[in-house]
Structures are given as C-alpha cells and as structure tokens.
C-alpha cells in the first residue's frame, strides 16, 4: 500500500507476482440498435481470458464473415473464426486510388441496401497498435440487392455506383478504381469452397 500512497501504484514492486486485472474475459458487444449494446462474448465463444493487446479484424478464411486475430502479451495468439450461423450477406470493397493515395485511405463509402444506408471509411491503423484489413466490409442483412453506393475519395471526387453494378459482387470482394465504372473481382480464391462446389454442380448439370 505504501507504493500506492506515494502515487506509485503502477510500480513493479506494487504488482510483484500478483495478477492485476488478470484473466479478464474479452467483450463482444452486439449492436442491439437504439444506442444499446449487449456483451455476448461468452455464449458466442469469443471470451478468451488471455491478456489481449492488439486485435486485427479481417475475413481470413474468405467465407464472408469477419474473423478476429488477437495478439496476447506473453502468450500464444487467439484466432477466432467467425462461425455465426445466423448471418446476413456482405460485400467487400477494395478501393484503388488514382488521384487519391493508392490505398484510398480516408475514403468514405455510403452504401444503400434493403432500405438503409451504411457508412464505412478506409483506415490504416486504429484500436491499440492494430490494423484491420484495408478493404471495407458491409453487412447487407437479408438483402442480396444493393441500391447504390457513393464513394467520397480523399481527392474530393464523389463517385456514384448503381447497385446493379455491385450486385454481382455480393458475398465477394469488388475492386473499384477511382473514377472508373469498371468493377472487377479482387479476390480470385474468394469463397473458394462454395464457389468450387457450385461450379462442380454446374459442370455435372451440363454433362
């Protein structure tokens, strides 16, 4: 207690061999709407008790759902593959700047689907000492159709894209170049398992 009294409660003598806010369960706050969230980490199976530091979010296995990698201080990392069964469709967008910086860092995208409009930004570095993948990810809920998208590029250009041009990329990653209406597939092996299976299916259908 002496250390604390001297305002030095963060000294190593104070900690000694003790735990200090150790074995804490990670939190997964589900957005319940109306400014309300609900921590579902335990029933979702994402409540690791390691001393978590950085978190890198990306769709590592290409199944359209965002996964988590956590670097844990003095321990092995945690890899949480998203296996939620009740999940909606999605689209990912890799933005390529021409006048803007090539990664389009700072670009903001407003996407309308299913009667609502969502906003996401391209960012490189946030959280604590962490970086998520650069391409942005939109959940689409039950909607497989996109009404439109508006990209505000860092250069100042506002680019509008009709939903029909994006629909082919639902559950995939679209590569969109600044100012160009040409949209291409950004991840060849995306949804590898599912695509391969449906192609085999199509093949059998023909023969």
């Amino acid at each position: 207690m002496d250390q604390y009294k001297r305002g030095l409660f963060f000294s190593d003598e104070f900690v000694g061999e003790n735990s200090w806010n150790g074995y804490e369960r990670k939190c997964l706050f589900a957005n319940a709407g109306g400014g309300q969230f609900l921590d579902v980490a335990r029933p979702a199976g994402a409540d690791s008790i390691k001393d978590g530091r950085g978190v890198a979010i990306a769709d590592y296995n290409g199944d359209g759902k965002l996964d988590l990698v956590i670097n844990n201080n003095n321990s092995t990392p945690t890899v949480y593959l998203n296996n939620l069964r009740r999940a909606g469709k999605c689209i990912e967008m890799k933005l390529v700047g021409t006048r803007s910086n090539r990664d389009a860092i700072g670009a903001r995208v407003r996407l309308s689907a299913g009667g609502k409009t969502m906003t996401r930004q391209v960012e490189a570095g946030s959280g604590y000492a962490s970086e998520a993948m650069l391409p942005i990810h939109f959940g689409l809920g039950g909607s497989a159709k996109i009404d439109s998208a508006e990209i505000i590029w860092p250069s100042g250009l506002t680019q509008r894209i009709e939903g029909s041009r994006l629909d082919p990329f639902v559950d995939r990653m679209a590569r969109i170049e600044e100012g160009s209406q040409q949209i291409t597939e950004a991840r060849a092996a995306r949804m590898a398992g599912r695509v391969a299976a449906s192609m085999r299916q199509a093949h059998r259908g023909r023969t």
Partner: protein, 602 residues
C-alpha cells in the same frame, strides 16, 4: 525609519501567526480527513469481504441444492417494500445469441423467506456454474462503519439443462447495515435490495471457433522485450510495469492475392504470416514468411502498420518500436521487403507505441502519425491522471513517396501525453482527416484538421476529453447517420469504488506532503481549467471504463453512458465490425492486464 521597521516587524509577526494558525488548521483538517479516508477504505474493504463471502455462499447453496444458509447474509429485519419478484423475459436475439431481460414483476413486499425461495428457484435453473463474480460497482452512500448503500455487480457464468452457455449480468442496489454487536468489527447484513437491471445471454459457445494457431501454421507466442524486464539485473526502469503493455497485430495483404496476411509485433522477433487460403486442404493455413520476406530481427516492436507509401500497388510496412529506431520496409512486390528506414527519414528513436496512416494534406501520398508514450527508463507519469510528460507524438509528411519530413511542430499535433493509441477519421465530414489520441494516465486529444497543414485541438469543445487510462480508440458509424462515432478503451477497475472523491482528495493530501506539491500545482490548475468544479470526480472518471461517443454531426459528441459498452475491464484494442452481417456495427474489446497466478488479483 525605525518606526517603519518596527511596523514591518509587527506585520510580519502577525502574518506568521496567521500562517502558523492556517498551517495548524490545515494539518488538523488533513489529519481528520486522513482518518475519515482510512475508515472509508476499511469500510470498502469489509464490504468487499462480505461480497466475497456471499459469493462463496451462493456457490455452496448451488452445490448443496439448498439456499437456506444464504439467509445469514440477510438481516432478520430484512424487508423490501414493493420489490416484486425477479423474472427473466425473452428479448430479441442477436445473431445466434438468445437474450433475456431480468425484470422485477409485481409489487410484492419481500421478506427473508421470500428471498431464499427466489434464490432457490434461480439455482434450480442451472446445471453448472463456471464462475461467479460479486463486485462493488459504486458506493452510493456511506455512513462509515454503520451502513452502506451500494450498487453491486453480479456476473454468473453458467450452463443450463440443454448445455447452453449463458451469462447473467445483474446490477443490484443493496442496503447494508453493520450488525456487529461489539461495535469494533464489521458484520454486514442486507436489510433491503432492489434490482437495477439485468440480462442473460445464452448460446452454444460456437459462434466463433477458437482455432489452435499452431494447427493453422501460426507457431507464434508473444515475447516481452527483455530490455524492459525489471527482473533482469541490468535493467533499471522508473516506470516498471511497461514490459506488460506490448503486443500489436495487423491484417494486411502484402502479396495482393486478396487473402489477409498477419503481422505480429513482438518484443523479440516480429513475424509475418502469409495466408495460404483454404483451397489446398479445405482448412485455413498460414506460413511464417518472416525470413524470406526479409523481416528478420525486428525486436522491441509494438506495432506494424501497412500502407502503400509510394503508390506502386504494394503495401509497405512501418514498424513502431519502443526506444529503438522505427523501421520502414519497402514492399518489392515479389514477396520481399527492403529496409529503407534511413533514406525515407523514418528511423526516429522515441518511446513509440502505435501509428496510423492518413493523407492529411490530400496530396495523394499517405502520411504517418505516431503515438509516443513516456520514457520508462527516465520518467514516471506525472500526474497519474493528467500526465503531460511523455514524448511528443509525431506527424510525418510523405514527400512524393520518396522521403518523410517531420511536420509535428508546424501542424500542432505534438501531444505530450503518454499516448498509447492514435486513429484518423474525418469526424466533421469536411473532407480532411482529423486525428484522435488516447493517452494513458490522461485524456483524449482530438486534432481537427484545418485543411491548411495545421490542426486545432478540440477535445474539450467536442466533448471527448474522456479522462482515464486511455488505451485504444476506433471510429465507426454504429447508428448509420453518416457521421463517424468514436469508441475508446480505458481502464475499468473491478474496484472502481476505490477511485471515488474521497480517494482522490486523499491522493492530493499525500502529494501535498511530498516534493511534488509545488511541481504538480500548475498541472492541477490545467485539470481544473478543463473540467471545472467537477474536477475531483476525475478519480471516478478514470475507473469508468470504455466510452462510446455518439457523433452529433455538429463537431460535438455525446457519451452514451447507458449503452452497456463501458465495463470491458482493463481495455486494450477495440474495433468496430459487423460480426453477423446484419448491417449494424458491433464492437470487439480486448482486455486483461497482468495474469500471474490465478486468485492473486490485486
């Protein structure tokens, strides 16, 4: 002349007398306050012990299938008028998760036997208990040694008959009375209670698969920087716990195959893992490519951030190191990197912690902002709730992808807090990216980009000072109104009663008796200027945990204190992401400080 001197002597004598009386009074008041604080502290500790006993009592009651012994924690005179019985009502699901609200139903009066029956019914619904926590959330009213009105946080991790994993989280208001007959000790009893709010969340625990990293080729374990290990004889730090703070991680696509690769920043050997996808075996696999990519030997690192610095189509790497030269690696586009730290002007040495890329001048080349902490070798944070003696953060301007120039001073972004986290976002939709900083032992800084190469600090005006141990922050539009909101991670102590006014004033009294009394005075004035008369609540603010700030769209934010996102423990990285693709941004919050032997928590 003589008369004048005599007069002066009289005045001096009078003044010293007044001063002496003032000092004596101050010392007397301080001693009394000290005593009061000591009683506050021992009362708090005894209540903590009571909660711990109650916790064990509940576990015993479950094991014995009998709640009658639990009644000894309730006063014989227990009576809660109109309390109602507590029930669980099904709410709407969140993805795979079933959600319930705990509600008080009816207006029945409750006596001791009613409580026993209610607890029995509750326990009958559980087939296993994995963990129970009872903590003081807030001491609302305290009549030292005699009675305490407090909010209790109750968390139970359990399983039901169907094998579902659930967590019950309830807040109760308990009225405790000390029934110790001798008057010397503590024998707390509950005399009345009330439900503040409660939820149950239930699922099968498999919405996320906890993949064994080694089975996916990630043979990595984070190691601390040995140069910061105080147990080693040749390491002497003023700020000793720093070695526990590290461990950044990044997702990147360094080889442009569309699959996210992983970079782990490490104290001994940072690693880059290439994502091989799932095509080969149907299982996700990674390969350690640190050596072949030319990234060996990266120790003392806390973060690696990737961005295409020269617009050649490949992600370059900037590595943030603590008290070691930062590193810049150019991505050659063939799976290898070349160290160009010095020629790019990115080999600065500082107690760096984190970094983000942004194009603040919109010239088409991304710039770097670095969060700089304090130097643990030479300094401790002063004050512990408003430390401004860290290294200055750096803004480095990218000159055409060829070299970076330090524009910290001219841009006005040299925050000297103990910065742990930085992030960039255009919070006012004016087209220019702004910067926000989370400072440990301090406040947040929000730098508004004026669009002319300069920034103006706006945290107070914007309402995001957020005093605490700031650990992380992230931007995201969680309510889809077109403006980016902010979520910050801070420390939330399980003993947050500890930070109440009484403890803060005790801290002040302690400091006033040290050599820091004079050096800190100016800092207190700054805190007062920022917070006004409520500044003594800074202790409570510090323990409150993470904060969710809603962007009002007019350059200001409002903290959503009732959003249930603040109690995330000892916070570290936080991230917005839509976990179930339902269009709404959810939040992941990492936490945990130091896990030594279980059961030894301070």
């Amino acid at each position: 002349m003589k008369r004048k001197l005599k007069r002066l002597a009289q005045v001096l004598a009078a003044l010293s007398l007044i001063l002496a009386v003032a000092v004596a009074t101050a010392l007397y008041v301080m001693a009394r306050k000290d005593k009061q604080h000591a009683r506050f502290f021992s009362t708090g500790k005894s209540v903590n012990n009571f909660l711990s006993d109650y916790n064990h009592g509940l576990k015993d009651a479950f094991d014995k299938k009998d709640a009658s012994e639990l009644t000894r924690y309730y006063s014989d005179g227990y009576f809660s008028s109109g309390r109602g019985h507590w029930v669980m009502n099904r709410d709407k699901d969140e993805g795979d998760i079933a959600c319930y609200r705990v509600l008080a139903e009816g207006r029945d009066d409750y006596r001791k036997a009613d409580v026993r029956d209610e607890i029995s019914r509750y326990l009958q619904g559980l087939t296993a208990i994995d963990d129970i926590k009872f903590k003081i959330d807030m001491i609302e009213k305290v009549d030292l040694d005699r009675s305490v009105l407090l909010t209790v946080k109750f968390i139970l991790d359990g399983r039901d008959g169907q094998g579902a994993l659930f967590q019950d989280r309830c807040f109760y208001r308990w009225n405790l009375v000390n029934e110790d007959a001798s008057g010397a000790g503590y024998d707390w009893r509950i005399v009345s209670d009330e439900l503040v709010e409660g939820v149950r969340v239930a699922g099968d625990g498999h919405s996320f698969t906890d993949l064994d990293p080694a089975s996916a080729g990630i043979d990595y374990k984070h190691r601390r920087d040995p140069k910061l290990n105080v147990k080693s004889s040749d390491v002497h730090l003023k700020f000793g716990v720093i070695e526990h703070g590290f461990g950044g991680v990044s997702a990147t696509d360094y080889n442009n195959d569309g699959r996210p690769d992983i970079f782990f920043a490490d104290g001994v050997r940072s690693r880059l893992y290439r994502n091989n996808g799932t095509a080969e075996s149907g299982k996700l696999g990674f390969t350690d490519v640190t050596a072949e990519a030319g990234l060996e030997g990266l120790d003392q690192a806390n973060a690696g951030v990737f961005a295409d610095v020269d617009n050649d189509g490949y992600e370059d790497l900037f590595v943030v190191r603590y008290l070691a030269p930062c590193k810049f690696y150019h991505n050659n586009g063939d799976g290898t990197f070349t160290d160009r730290s010095a020629e790019m002007g990115l080999d600065l040495v500082a107690p760096c912690m984190s970094a983000c890329f942004l194009d603040y001048d919109r010239d088409g080349f991304v710039d770097i902002y670095i969060g700089v902490y304090g130097n643990a070798l030479t300094d401790v944070p002063r004050l512990p709730f408003f430390a401004q003696n860290g290294g200055a953060n750096r803004l480095l301007r990218n000159n055409g992808g060829r070299r970076f120039a330090d524009v910290t001073d001219v841009s006005g972004t040299g925050d000297t807090g103990w910065s742990l986290a930085v992030a960039a976002a255009d919070y006012d939709n004016d087209g220019f990216p702004d910067l926000m900083v989370a400072n440990d032992f301090g406040r947040k800084n929000l730098y508004h980009n004026n669009g002319d190469g300069t920034f103006t600090e706006q945290a107070k005006r914007a309402g995001v000072l957020d005093f605490s141990g700031g650990m992380g922050l992230t931007f995201g539009d969680f309510d889809d109104d077109g403006y980016l909101d902010v979520y910050t991670s801070n420390i939330n102590s399980n003993q947050r009663w500890f930070g109440e006014d009484m403890t803060v004033s005790q801290y002040m009294r302690n400091v006033m008796r040290t050599r820091y009394a004079l050096t800190d005075a100016g800092e207190y004035l700054k805190v007062y200027r920022l917070l006004g008369p409520s500044w003594t609540e800074v202790g409570t603010m510090i323990g409150e945990g993470n904060s969710l700030f809603h962007n009002n769209g007019d350059g200001t934010f409002i903290e959503l204190k009732d959003s249930h996102t603040n109690r995330a423990g000892w916070g570290w990285s936080v991230a917005f992401f839509d976990m179930d693709n339902d269009t709404k941004l959810d939040i992941y919050a990492a936490n945990g400080w130091i896990s030594n032997a279980p059961g030894t928590d301070l």
